[in-house]
Amino acid sequence: MERLRRTMMFVPGSNPSMVSDAYIYGADSLMFDLEDAVAINEKDSARLLVYNAIKTIDYGNTEVVVRINELHGPYGRDDVEAMVRAGVDVIRLPKTERKEDIYEVEAAIEEVERKIGREIGSTKMMAAVESPIGVINAYEIATSSKRLIGIALGAEDYVTNMKTKRYANGLELLGARTQIVIAARAAGIYALDTVYSDIDNEEGFKNEVELIKQLGFDGKSVINPRQIKPVCDIFAPTAEEIKKSANIRRAAQDAQKHGLGVISLNGKMIDKPIVDRANRVLQLATAVGLYKEEMQNEK
């Protein structure tokens, strides 16, 4: 089954308490930040902290992502070296503008993978687009590497570049968000939305999550554990959807069991995208405890 990426929680890489605890809140992915959240004079200590944590702490099924500093600065190469050695799942590039940015980091990753004998290609990547040119190039970026699992919007820099700011209704981001979702869907990778920093504004946060779900995003970046539950709740399917999807799955299993080439339900033919969609709905439902396979079958 494919991984859920409803929530990616940003965790400052310089804070040991958060780095070691963050997995308990049920985020689908954790993103340890070596970039913006870390002061210049703590770049070295944060890198070592995250390195040792990833090597030691059992993060279970949670996906571990690290946002590195840009490769051409004084810290990026060390970040790549340390994180690949530590065995990180995904390296996230900040401020990606064109496919060459991906190529360079990919080469740096591969060099370390070779050096330490880690399977080439096992370190995944994701790209954060934070500028107008990045948005324009979203598709080229999304298709630049097999390692890419997703593409994300970083809105703070983007709105500054666009000579605007963030508004409650999110209109200023509509173009970028649409472009990114389309690029991700075309490339067959995940689309992740930007953070919402006013953690005490639950209403505003929920509205934004509703919006990005409607646009087709897979998930949202969060900066506080308190934001995780609202996202999961909003992404959770309705009882109606779950029931329908469960029946589609049953029909599909039934067809397989009896060696039927065509799946049908209530007289309608069911093709693969519909089965995929049903599986995804059930996966989302399972994750929030709304669905358990044996439970459904018992009834």
């Binding site: 804070n15 308490s17 958060m18 004079n41 953690i199 005490d200 506080n224 554990p225 308190r226």
Partner: protein
């Protein structure tokens, strides 16, 4: 740190911020110090919940809003300040706090040096550092009945200083002379120290020291180096003398301290007043030696600097020992003379 806390530097030249901080501290019963190099605030959303500052290598004005105490905000403040201290090259760090917070700061790796009862707790970030200093000092100790001590800045060394040392030397078996090593004077410590050394070779019973961190330093007596209100000067003086009585006196077996009469500088005058009371309470004699007069005028280092500033190096001849005079005539003094000319501070 909590997910909801964040630390931000506060710039005190922003008067609005300064007022806010002053108010915050006053509620906790703390006065905002006049001289601070750096201040940090810990905020929860936009609410200030904790703060701390430092001047040179001393942390001060540390406070946590009462309803947030015991939640680790102070740890964040002290961590932030220590980080900034290391960035600025200070690794031996001191702090001032209220007496009842000893244990709190103990848990943060600070240890008591001395206290001014009910007023001030003085701590440092290394256990036993002051004791080790005192043990080192004790190695220079000479057993005798009459052991005098003198602390001078010697900026530069004059006949007045020499007179003071001479009187002490005549009246005692041993005299420990401490030259202030804090670099807050226009003449660098090494030069001041060297001039004292050259000008005291005639006295056979004196031992020269530098004052270091524990005597008249930025940490123990900051008001000597910066302008402060009188009540603050008194507290600082008391602190300096507490440290002196607790660690210097026993290490060297000191029985008396000599000071020159102070006609000009109010801070020194106040210090001497406090000293008399503080030391004599503990049975240490405190002798004030009248200033040496030349042509009806008391000799002072500032007069000497004034002459130098006015390019009248010849005029200092009658005010300083020949060793000091020779130095200022020599080539090696050129740099320093330039510096004296360019500065018009108290020291």
């Amino acid at each position: 740190m909590d997910y909801d806390f964040n630390g931000k530097r506060i710039f005190l030249d922003d008067m609005l911020e300064r007022k806010k901080l002053e108010k915050f501290l006053n509620i906790q019963g703390i006065k905002l110090d006049k001289n601070l190099d750096y201040t940090v605030g810990i905020y929860k959303a936009n609410e200030l919940i904790a703060t701390g500052s430092f001047y040179k290598n001393t942390l001060r004005c540390l406070a946590v809003k009462s309803e947030y105490q015991g939640m680790g905000a102070l740890n964040t403040v002290v961590s932030n300040l220590m980080n900034e201290q290391y960035e600025r090259g200070f690794t031996h760090i001191f702090l001032y706090t209220k007496c009842n917070y000893l244990r709190l700061f103990n848990d943060l790796g600070f240890y008591e040096v001395a206290r001014v009862e009910n007023l001030l707790e003085f701590m440092e970030n290394k256990s036993n550092a002051v004791t080790n200093y005192s043990l080192e000092l004790a190695k220079t100790s000479v057993k005798a009945d009459r052991v005098a001590s003198i602390v001078i800045n010697a900026n530069p060394y004059t006949l007045g200083h020499q007179h003071l040392i001479e009187v002490a030397s005549n009246e005692n078996d041993v005299v420990h002379v401490f030259v202030v090593s804090e670099e807050a004077s226009v003449i660098p410590f090494l030069v001041r120290y060297e001039l004292v050394r050259r000008g005291t070779t005639q006295f056979k019973n004196i031992i020269l020291h530098k004052t270091g961190d524990y005597i008249i330093s930025n940490a123990t007596f900051p008001s000597y180096f910066i302008e402060e209100e009188e009540n603050v000067v008194v507290v600082h003086a008391k602190l300096d003398l507490e440290v002196y009585k607790k660690y210097i006196v026993p290490a060297l077996g000191i029985t008396s301290r000599y000071v020159g009469e102070e006609p000009y500088c109010n801070v020194t005058k106040k210090y001497n007043e406090v000293m008399k009371e503080s030391l004599e309470n503990q049975g240490i004699k405190c002798k004030t030696i009248p200033r040496l007069n030349i042509n009806g005028k008391a000799i002072s280092a500032s007069t000497v600097r004034q002459y130098i500033r006015e390019d009248k190096v010849e005029e200092i001849k009658g005010l300083v020992p020949y060793t000091t005079y020779d130095y200022f005539r020599s080539k090696e003094a050129e740099e320093i003379i330039k510096m004296i000319k360019s500065r018009k501070s108290r020291h």
